[in-house]
Symmetry: C2
Subunit: 120 residues, 2 copies
């Protein structure tokens, strides 16, 4: 069972739709990086039981993304914000080259700071 990094972002988006038990198992496995055996020892069930519970919870997360597509929607936004930051950097450089308008400089800083604050 390979650990899937995508799961952590799905957990961030949709985790609250899982039971607290399911969230706990995924959190142990993905965020705390415990092994199945360690989780089994912690919670007092079999390794196979932990494995099944994690698989089931992962399926629920994948199913939600397949239905709702909100992680994909956010990724598009993130890519767009990256492009916007890149444009703002270029404006700033071009502005510095051409006689330096203080106002343009301030506005590019503001664009970058907004884009950065939305990129979490």
């Amino acid at each position: 069972m390979a650990k899937n990094l995508e799961i952590t972002i799905l957990l961030d988006f949709y985790g609250e739709m899982l039971t607290s038990k399911q969230r706990e198992f995924l959190d142990f496995y993905y965020n705390e990086d415990l092994s199945l055996a360690e989780i089994a020892a912690n919670v007092g069930i079999t390794r196979q039981g932990v494995r099944d519970a994690i698989k089931r919870a992962e399926c629920l997360l994948y199913d939600m993304e397949q239905r709702l597509g909100l992680v994909a929607r956010f990724k598009d936004v993130q890519n767009g914000l990256d492009e916007i930051m890149d444009c703002a950097t270029k404006i700033s450089a071009e502005n510095r080259k051409n006689g330096l308008s203080r106002e343009i400089s301030d506005l590019t800083v503001k664009i970058k700071s907004i884009a950065l604050s939305l990129s979490e």
Copy 2:
């Protein structure tokens, strides 16, 4: 039972987690603007049955937003994109005032077009 405009955006985000029946009722009621009596006549159940089904589906949508908060998250992004477009417009005006760099002009157009394409 007042029609709630917020429901249409919740339906857009989370509708795929409802049953097709629930989606159909909410779609009739909110998007097609049919009355409870009209929906009841269409689907062959009582007006009270339609009303209960719609209430239940609305509760599910509100519950999902309370858990996941993804509509709120997207609204923050939309507000930030509006601010970015506003800054780009100001840069463009300032740039025009100060000797007109073609490159800055093109870059502000690009920022606005990216921000607009993400604002759906």
